[in-house]
């Protein structure tokens, strides 16, 4: 290398360092592992978000006001769990089992599959009061019952859609139309990522693929870096994490050292800070090759923790494992973890399948709340549990199924400054209409953003000449949910 090349390299390094310091807010070592937005691509257009777009789109940003929660674990129960079997006791429905619903209930009503005027179906499981709050929960939820004093139950949820894909997309992105950013993406866009070695928004899946597909956790029109990254239960936890066959760790290191050196030379020649970002991205990939398997390796967890979650085989990929992984992820600074468990679409076989689903999910969901609490993480972690809609009080098929129902259903929240041992809202005697304190999807999302320190009307991103937001033009913060 000649002198002038040396000088250029030195200058480029200085330049790139300055760029990192100025635009990323952190030194190279501390760069958020996930990603860097290419310098030559268009930065997000000016938006009303307080955070000014900077070189590193994942730099930690302050929200609009002091947040109650810093991170989110969202346990999405896809397929739509029956509120009538799990959360919302309806003795009157038991009494009227087999009778037709009152006609006034069905005005302008549309279910997905069934004729609205179908017989009522009594709840299949018993309810009892639990905890100091005395909240009634189903016998299917013995573990959730034990933590009910930590939960904020919303029994007055409402949504617009009655088909799975649109309803899942609505719940996750605030719109029935595909192409909008998910709640997790908005969160990452608004807050950035604290994780040094892992993506800021991680997705964990169990059961089968969801109706909404990848769009449930997509970034929509936000830059790609804000999208959810699935960590997979089988094969490579992160796609293409493993080296090709035959390439061991030293060979990988030697390869990356060579690549680093060659890219350094290119940086000296071209002076493009983007090359420095590329070098960093390869180094972060290398770190991820260590940190991701370490994260996924539950064998280091003590037996009592595995017992708490009900994990028998630490290698088996399932919902319980995902719950424990969620805790490990947020401990490592991941901003948003979303679980998807697509199993709740009980048009038939309601009794048996809802029982199985609860066996699969009840213990671990509750364990996660318990575990967060005992680690002091629950206070500033927002935990959300729920699906895209509820189920009809009317029967579908013979006598063991329920159709989609959008007018009233239940979700639960925990942590993040919300009330504990609290029940918000109520439905009528049939679990059909909300009779008290309705909470629409948009209200829920406005509230969740509020917990994260955002005025939902001001967390916006300009696209197509319009300032888009998670709540579109709707949503009221449900202040009554906060402690």
């Amino acid at each position: 290398m000649n002198l002038s090349a040396d000088l250029r390299l030195a200058h480029a390094r200085q330049l790139s360092r300055r760029w990192f310091l100025r635009d990323c807010g952190v030194g190279l070592a501390g760069i958020a592992a996930h990603s860097l937005l290419a310098k030559d691509s268009a930065p997000p257009p000016p938006s009303a978000a307080t955070a000014k777009p900077s070189g590193n789109p994942l730099a930690v940003k302050a929200p609009h006001f002091t947040p109650k929660a810093k991170r989110v674990i969202y346990m999405f129960q896809a397929g739509a769990p029956s509120h009538l079997e799990l959360f919302d006791p309806k003795p009157e429905l038991t009494k009227r089992d087999g009778q037709l619903p009152p006609a006034e209930l069905l005005k302008d009503y549309r279910a997905a599959f069934i004729k609205p005027n179908s017989a009522l179906l009594g709840p299949k499981f018993k309810f009892a009061r639990h905890g100091q709050s005395g909240t009634e929960l189903s016998e299917l939820l013995p573990y959730t019952s034990k933590i009910v004093d930590d939960l904020c139950l919303v029994r007055s949820m409402q949504t617009d859609a009655v088909n799975h894909a649109p309803a899942q997309i609505l719940m996750n992105t605030g719109s029935q139309q595909f192409g909008r950013p998910s709640f997790g993406s908005w969160t990452l866009y608004g807050l950035g990522s604290e994780g040094a070695e892992l993506p800021g928004y991680v997705v964990l899946t169990s059961a089968k693929g969801t109706s909404g597909g990848a769009s449930n956790y997509g970034c929509g029109f936000l830059p790609t870096v804000y999208g959810g990254i699935p960590f997979r239960g089988t094969g490579d936890p992160v796609l293409y994490l493993s080296n090709p066959k035959g390439i061991d760790a030293p060979a990988q290191r030697a390869s990356l050292d060579t690549l680093h050196r060659l890219n350094d030379l290119a940086l000296a020649e071209a002076g493009d800070p983007e090359i420095a970002a590329r070098i960093a991205s390869y180094e972060m990939a290398y770190q991820l090759q260590t940190s991701a398997p370490e994260l996924m390796d539950l064998s280091t967890e003590p037996p009592h923790i595995l017992e708490l979650y009900g994990i028998k085989d630490v290698k088996e990929s399932n919902y319980a494992r995902n719950c424990l992984l969620a805790r490990r992820l947020i401990e490592r600074g991941v901003r948003f973890v979303q679980l998807f468990h697509e199993a709740w679409d009980q048009h038939g076989n309601l009794t048996k399948d809802v029982q199985k689903n609860c066996l699969d999910t009840d213990r671990a969901s509750a364990a996660l709340v318990t575990d967060l609490k005992q680690r002091g993480l629950l206070d500033d972690t927002l935990v959300v549990w729920g699906g895209e809609f509820g189920r009809t009080p009317m029967v579908q098929g013979g006598n063991d199924g329920r159709d989609h129902h959008n007018r009233g259903f239940t979700m639960w929240l925990a942590g993040g400054g919300l009330k504990r041992g609290h029940v918000h809202g109520a439905t009528d005697d049939f679990g059909f209409n909300v009779t008290q304190d309705p909470v629409h999807v948009h209200d829920l999302n406005a509230t969740l953003l509020h917990a994260l320190g955002f005025d939902h009307t001001r967390l916006t991103y300009r696209f197509q000449g319009r300032d888009f937001r998670l709540t579109d033009v709707h949503g009221e913060v449900v202040r009554a949910l906060f402690a």
Binding site: H164, G179, T234, L265, A270, D272, S281, Q464
Partner: protein, 1049 residues
């Protein structure tokens, strides 16, 4: 205290301004550049075009509105008198009630902005319309910098505009890129593939004789090649939200690649852009449209299709039209039409009504699917039709009285038909027993079943007919252009099979349904009894019990038998009829409900792809004794309805053919025709497209309240926003008119948007950065003069996209070195002034194609079906519907260009999406580039890229030269078009040497590294060992991941 200080600062600046305006500097305020953005950002949300939400009745987007003021009657702007203008008073006010923008908006104008507004009012508050809504005009080229020995030629127009703005920014143009880099840049931009070392050598040699002619020659060569169309098709495919699956929950695969092929060919033959648009928006409405023009209209059908169980099809049809508008707006007009779906646009002059005015142009359509034949097959079909006509001609010659006989037969048919009176059933209730489908009854009483493709499902109709003594029931299977190939069925061929037809009755006051016995089924046509084809295999019928054929199967009480009337290729998409008799005339009391059930039990598995549903049918009753279906093709019977002179050729044909079949003496001709039909070719693919509804079946558009599909309000006629150019006065209100309006030379937007998109592809950022939005919130671009010059030039050169590309890449601006000096980075970090050449990571597809190309693996095959790349099992298995068709090729197709990689919407391709390829959920006219560790992992470890590294190593061994240094040099030349600098070469050689040592010592296994599942040691050249190959595979993997390999430099 803070507030006071703030106010003081403000007043000081205002004072300064007053002084300044007293002594004008001579520079008048430019409304479009300086004032409009302030109003758009701070005022128009409440004081804009949307009358519904307008506050205080005040609008500031028009001058009249601003002068007139709001409801208060106070003039918001008083010309030349900022001090008297309420606008300024309100902005300066600190009273929370009065101040504007109101405190809750949390928007504050800067002192400079207020100053601008004051000066603008002082100058008379002139308004000009939004820059992008005024047709582009070519300004004279800026005065060129003095010619010098280095610049003997008059400047290129692009350079003239760019150069004019450099000095003020403290910048100067860069030197040209070195010829090798320029050669690679041109290859990547014009073909999406890297040059071979021979290409580079030839160009460098030619450039030594003269750079400009060498560049011109290379541009000419590359624009003439087929790769050009493949490269640029990708840009349009993004805008057109192309994908190979339907999206939503089911996300079933679709056949749409014929449209993709059309785009490639249209670009390669440089079809004028206006025609390119017209054919895609309304090709079907052109006179005698060709198959290609039908295929072109696939553009508007690239959107998603919801096939989830139990959906209301109309809801998602509306969603589909909304998506079409969004796509059209972004791709052609740069208008965010979607903003006016729920209310009048907040910023742009597009009213809620205007939105549905454009909607109406697209709403009067069928969502059709047609076969796509090869050129050879089209000739075959043309010949076949000729031969069929010849048969008819021979018949007419042999039977001179044919015309009288035909007429007599027709009269007889009419008489026979009139003998049985049929009364269509009016459904009181319709549905499917599974709940998966929600059929609807149309005005002609036919019943349409769309939405979920049910593999096993029964459709029922309940009616309370007032028809005592009914003797029979007629079931008509009727075509419909929403069905594949016109139906009447919904199968892969537009066919159907009905396993059973059942009728039950519920007497008034009872709740049970009693079976009504049926007898004597007859039909116009049925296949002979036969086993069901294997194509419809289903898990519930492993024993293959199911058969089909005669109409008797319809009422034989067995779900295993079905009536089907598939007349074979070329003739199968036609109407059919069956008549069944009640065992005894119906004698139910008035008010009895009849339930008619069509059972479907002959579908195949595979998530509905192999359903056999009937898409449209009509049920009717008669009291005429002994009703039967005449053995005459039902299409002919239906053709009796229009008067002879109003029949379509297809209807006339149906009648003639039916007559021919009815006369035993003409059997010879029937046999000849049947033999010809057997030769009808089977198409290998099809296309989803739009067709205009027939005049008898038009769909009127109503404005939808807040855009909600089930809240229609008043009717809206097709029209376009008044702020844009007008529609031709006498043109019919159809899609073709809309297409021509979009592609009109008077359009202020169409050419600008197209030019901008091409510019964006070449330079990384558009002249208008928001390629999807040229509306009022888009400020006047820095280089509007250049954009407009190019837009006019584009149109004046016959909308030639190749001319446009050539213009841009032949500029010095494009050809500059991309090396960034510290001063340039400091003054213009994002290269808006273009004092240096473009440098950015290539698009996902180019990244993959470059690797395959360098490796020597890339298949040159052009066009055709998509290919299935290897996908990790943990991705493939995580789909809502099981993916049964993912057959990964092991031959050359494995390495086809990325353009041909199957795009499954709910499972974005992991390799391409890591590099920011969109998944086709919606129209994308601007990709945002990211640079992530996930992309790095993909580059290092993805299956195809690893195979590319192995093949690259083999190639280096074969052609790189005798030493590792030679091979390193060749590797760099292949990947970056230049030889490595010594330090680079040495680094690569060091890696090879060190790896070789480890391999020799047995620390690494050569076979594992050097070979994939598809390659073997036997493939090695004689002089190579697996250790050599393994060492070079590792080095090749590094070279494939070089920043410079991934980047357009």
């Amino acid at each position: 205290m803070y507030r006071l200080a703030h106010l003081l600062a403000l007043s000081v600046s205002l004072f300064t301004v007053a002084a300044a305006s007293a002594a004008p500097t001579g520079n008048a305020i430019d409304f479009a550049r300086e004032v409009q953005p302030i109003l758009a950002e701070n005022c128009l949300h409440c004081h804009g075009p949307d009358a519904q939400d307008r506050k205080a009745g005040l609008r500031l987007d028009t001058r009249d509105g601003a002068l007139q003021g709001g409801k208060s009657g106070v003039a918001t702007i008083v010309e030349h008198k900022p001090a008297d203008s309420e606008l300024i008073a309100r902005i300066l006010s600190t009273d929370e009630e009065d101040m504007m923008p109101p405190p809750k908006e949390k928007k504050t104008l800067t002192a400079a902005q207020i100053d601008t507004l004051r000066r603008w009012i002082a100058e008379g508050a002139p308004y000009t319309s939004h820059w992008a809504f005024t047709a582009p005009v070519q300004a004279p080229l800026p005065l060129s910098p003095p010619l010098s020995a280095a610049r003997p030629l008059p400047p290129h127009p692009v350079d003239a505009f760019i150069a004019a703005k450099l000095p003020a920014a403290g910048l100067a143009a860069s030197a040209p890129a070195d010829p090798a880099t320029l050669c690679r840049r041109l290859f990547l931009d014009l073909t999406g593939l890297p040059p071979s070392p021979a290409d580079v050598d030839a160009f460098v040699a030619a450039a030594a004789q003269g750079l400009a002619p060498a560049v011109e020659a290379l541009i000419t060569r590359l624009l003439a090649g087929e790769r050009y169309g493949e490269k640029w098709a990708r840009v349009w495919l993004d805008a057109a939200r192309y994908a190979d699956s339907n999206g939503y929950e089911k996300d079933l695969p679709r056949e749409q690649w014929a449209w993709r092929d059309w785009v490639i060919h249209a670009l390669n033959r440089d079809q004028p852009y206006d025609q390119f648009l017209i054919e895609q928006i309304a090709g079907d409405l052109l006179p005698q449209p060709t198959q290609d023009q039908i295929v072109a209209t696939g553009f508007l059908r690239n959107g998603m299709i919801n096939e989830e169980g139990a959906i209301i099809p109309e809801q998602f049809r509306i969603e589909g039209v909304v998506d079409r508008l969004d796509c059209l707006g972004k791709a052609t007009l740069g208008l965010t039409l979607q903003c006016a779906q729920c209310h009048t646009h907040k910023f742009d002059p597009i009213t809620h009504d205007d939105y549905f005015g454009i909607f109406a142009f697209l709403n009067n359509t069928y969502e059709a699917q047609s076969w796509v034949y090869t050129a050879e097959q089209q000739q075959q079909i043309a010949k076949l039709k000729n031969d069929l006509r010849a048969v008819d001609d021979r018949l007419k010659k042999a039977e001179p009285q044919w015309s009288e006989k035909f007429a007599a037969w027709e009269n007889q048919l009419r008489t026979d038909r009139a003998a049985t009176l049929w009364t269509p059933l009016v459904a009181a209730e319709m549905g499917s027993t599974s709940g998966l489908n929600h059929p609807v009854q149309l005005a002609d009483h036919s019943i349409l079943t769309e939405g979920h493709p049910s593999t096993k499902g029964d459709i029922f109709v309940i009616a309370t007919p007032d028809l005592a003594g009914a003797t029979g029931l007629r079931l008509e299977a009727l075509g419909h252009d929403d069905m594949p190939f016109g139906g009447p069925g919904r199968s892969l061929y537009g066919t159907w099979a009905i396993s059973e037809l059942e009728v039950t009755a519920q007497l008034p006051g009872t709740t049970t349904w009693e079976k009504v016995a049926l007898k004597n089924a007859s039909a116009d046509f049925a296949e002979p009894a036969r086993a069901l084809e294997r194509e419809w295999d289903a898990a519930f019928d492993k024993e293959q019990r199911r058969t089909l054929g005669p109409v008797a199967f319809l009422i034989d009480g067995s779900n295993d038998t079905a009536w089907r009337a598939d007349r074979g290729p070329g003739r199968r998409n036609t109407d059919s009829v069956a008549v069944v008799q009640f065992a005894a005339p119906l004698a139910f009391p008035a008010g009895t409900k009849l339930r008619f059930l069509l059972r479907y039990h002959h579908s195949g598995d595979d998530n509905g792809r192999h359903n056999c549903m009937l898409g449209r049918c009509r049920l009717s009753l008669t009291t005429t004794p002994d009703p039967r279906a005449a053995p005459v093709d039902y299409a002919a019977v239906l053709a009796l309805d229009p008067p002879a002179d109003q029949r379509t050729p297809r209807q006339s044909d149906a009648l003639f053919t039916a007559w021919r079949a009815s006369d035993p003496s003409l059997k010879k001709f029937v046999t000849e025709a049947d033999a010809l039909w057997k030769k009808f070719p089977a198409a290998t693919t099809s296309v989803l497209h739009l067709t205009e509804r027939s005049p008898a079946d038009t769909r009127a558009t109503r404005l939808l309240d807040r855009g909600a599909w089930d809240k229609p309000l008043h009717p809206v006629a097709p029209h376009v926003p008044t702020a844009l150019h007008a529609l031709p006065a006498d043109a019919p209100a159809n899609r073709l008119t809309l297409a021509r309006w979009i592609a009109d030379r008077r359009s202020p937007l169409t050419a600008r948007v197209a030019v901008n998109r091409v510019w964006q592809s070449l330079f990384g950022t558009g002249l208008v950065e928001t390629a999807e939005d040229f509306g009022t919130r888009t400020p006047v671009p820095l280089h509007q003069d250049l954009l407009d010059w190019l837009a006019v030039d584009f149109m004046e050169h016959g909308w030639s996209q190749k001319h446009l590309v050539r213009t841009l890449v032949s500029s010095r601006t494009y050809q500059q070195t991309s090396r960034a000096t510290p001063a340039q980075l400091e003054r213009d970090p994002r290269n808006q002034y273009l004092a240096r050449g473009p440098r950015f990571r290539a698009d996902a597809e180019v990244v993959r194609d470059v690797a395959l190309s360098i490796a020597g693996l890339l298949s040159p095959k052009l066009g055709g079906p998509s290919i299935f790349p290897p996908i990790p099992e943990n991705v493939l298995s995580y789909n809502y519907s099981k993916v049964t068709y993912w057959d990964v090729p092991t031959g050359p197709d494995r390495y086809r260009r990325s353009l041909y990689v199957f795009r499954k919407r709910s499972m974005p391709d992991p390799m391409l999406s890591a590099f920011d390829a969109p998944n086709g959920d919606f129209s994308c006219v601007r990709r945002i580039r990211s640079n992530t560790p996930l992309a790095a992992l993909t580059g290092l470890n993805e299956t195809i890229l690893v195979e590319a590294a192995q093949a690259f190593a083999l190639r280096l061994w074969r052609e790189g030269g005798p030493t590792d240094a030679d091979r390193a040099t060749h590797a760099y030349r292949l990947a970056t078009a230049r030889p490595p600098r010594p330090a680079e070469r040495d680094a690569v050689v060091q890696l090879v040497t060190a790896t070789r040592t480890r391999l020799r010592q047995g620390e690494l296994k050569a076979g594992d590294i050097a070979f994939s599942v598809l390659t073997r040691p036997a493939d090695l050249p004689a002089d190579a060992t697996p250790i050599d190959l393994a060492a070079w595979t590792i080095a090749a993997r590094v070279v494939l991941n070089l920043d410079e390999t991934l980047t357009k430099n």
